[in-house]
Symmetry: C2
Subunit: 430 residues, 2 copies
Amino acid sequence: MKAEYIAIGTELLIGHVVNTNAAYLSEELNAIGISTYYHVTVGDNHERIIDSLKLAASRSDIIICTGGLGPTSDDITHEVIADFAEAPLLENAQQKEIIKAKFLKTKRAIPENNFKQAMIPENSIIIPNPVGTAVGIILDYHYKVSETEIKSVKIITFPGVPCEMEAMFQATVKDYLADYLREQETVGAIVSEKIKFINIGESRMAELIGDEIFAGANPSVAPYATLGECYVRITSKAASEAEAYELMQPVKQQIEEKMQDYIYAYGDLTVPELLAAKLKENSLSIAFAESCTGGLLSKAMTDLPGASAYTKLNLVTYSNEAKVEILGVEEQSLDEFGAVSEEVAKEMALGLEKISKADINVSITGIAGPDGGSEDKPVGTIFIAINYREQLVSQQLDWYARTLSRAQVRELACLKTLYEVLKLLNSSNP
Amino acid sequence: MKAEYIAIGTELLIGHVVNTNAAYLSEELNAIGISTYYHVTVGDNHERIIDSLKLAASRSDIIICTGGLGPTSDDITHEVIADFAEAPLLENAQQKEIIKAKFLKTKRAIPENNFKQAMIPENSIIIPNPVGTAVGIILDYHYKVSETEIKSVKIITFPGVPCEMEAMFQATVKDYLADYLREQETVGAIVSEKIKFINIGESRMAELIGDEIFAGANPSVAPYATLGECYVRITSKAASEAEAYELMQPVKQQIEEKMQDYIYAYGDLTVPELLAAKLKENSLSIAFAESCTGGLLSKAMTDLPGASAYTKLNLVTYSNEAKVEILGVEEQSLDEFGAVSEEVAKEMALGLEKISKADINVSITGIAGPDGGSEDKPVGTIFIAINYREQLVSQQLDWYARTLSRAQVRELACLKTLYEVLKLLNSSNP
């Protein structure tokens, strides 16, 4: 069962929107055993959408479209599909009422063009939208491959707004497609596992693991890299889930042996999530005094639901004054070593404990750029200190020499700092 | 001059990476007058990459590929292009030396497979990579459309890592393509302007502006929406830049009249950037005491270079204790109104001034979810207070009823809070 994803919207082709739907849908489809072979993005143009649908129908079994379901004149997805599949648009009375009711609830006037969203290609199943007024459809499209053969292709549409698409996928489409696959009996079991590594580059990882492992077809092993981390995904297919897991084991063990120094997680858990779990498990609180990261550490740890279990107070002491007045850093240390120094990082972490009363007190000071660097302390020079129990550990963060943007320096510093805290907790059995 | 973008990488098709390169390249190409008509994503599969190149060559003049230039066995982009364009891979001695030198500098051992990155299709121009070891190429591919007609297509490759691709595009490819276009004399002048609106939904914006304006071809007007904001982009083409600007004016004025209550910016300036400029212009400092946003406001304002001009100290007072002990919020107010209340927001902003000594003191308290909501105060209930000069203004943030995630509630609260501060400063002529 091959899926193809078509994103519709000129805004994507002129680069004003990053398409996050492609990744979301591909991952969700993959998880229910549907492989996506192509992503295509096309503008709000009748002819080119038709061409893309035609090509997709010739090589795929399921076509998933996002975008072009809004009320404005360039939203033409259902109109084009109606044309392509010869399924004329019909006004859906129920949908019209739903649109009316939604606007009544928000006490806003109903823009007349919103009723366009009640025009649905004939014979479609409607995918309700729990969030907005744009509904999607599931439409079976049949065409003659030859005189004797008819091919059926499912066309599924979603709005382009990610939270609407996601809500609709989860509430309606996921189960629908899983049932459809079972009916077609095309899927055995597919299982897939991710092993995450830190403090190693992608090419070194590839060499350690070796070409032979990456060349395998079942299980297949694919390498990935993101800012500061890399990982592999092992995927295996078999008649049952248990068999698929068993099939995966030898390769998994080989990778674990070769990469033992770098493994930090299995699955999708992130460094902040692992640290949060560790803190909760041991009823520890944590506090940050940030300079160069300006709130990023605090944000990262409060992005997670339930952050109040370990977060009481965090400080962004951006100026020297704040470091002196709030954290009690010595003026003399600032003069002698500079604000970006291991000494100041230590004093920040010590001072933080007095005001936060947290169990773990973490400080960071550095040069995020693009300005402020010097020969001695170039952009990317960052010191951290961790004050935990009677220990005060400090270090300069190091990373591969790379041209990093301000945002990347800050992101990477945040990741590495949280990982250092996690390592310290893991090694000291809190 | 039509461009087509092909992203190569199975990781994109299984949804483990969000492709940000598509938006970046499309916007950059657009800015130099090259329209992108299609984005295609294809896996690390020889045959399907060939098919995608063939289709792209038939309908586009420039093919830009990203991904598949790494050292691992699934990185096959140059190999496939060599096949497709009949340009055999040759080892480039200079490139081999560069790879050696880069690894020497980082004092890491050179993984043997990295030398694969020195294998370059014949007759290619090399695009140096100032960041990593994967170089890109520019290759002219010629094919017979008919017995008498030969078509030339430029194939350009980049690594998939965004910072590498961006550095290579800016250092080499941008000027190369701009020169190429001038040679071909296919471009007059294209100018484009963006008008940004806040506190209005996309469909209401579309209705106010009207179908007639959106139906125009030159200038063309396209509507966009992101979380909490929407905007239009007006694009016009003419022989010269001045003429293109002139052509745009009548439509621009009509939009300005219809949308005057909602305009907050022209161009790409964001709310944090506008606020930062206002603060710098008036030598004002700002401080935040955050609860539900947990550092997001502080992060947003320190994402910008030069943030030290207005940032001295920010606090994340997540717990009630921190609100009482650090900000001096009354225990009684917490008991009577709850931590999420207008009263507590006010006390936070008043207390913050004493510790921050900043000119503007902003507080936020609310329920970001997914837990912690109640009938009275559902998820998304957020109060802010702004303490500026003798004024203390406070309000509950309001937004359309929507199913928002924790991350979205926090992002939107951050945007709206900063916008309220900007509005207050604009109205009080600081």
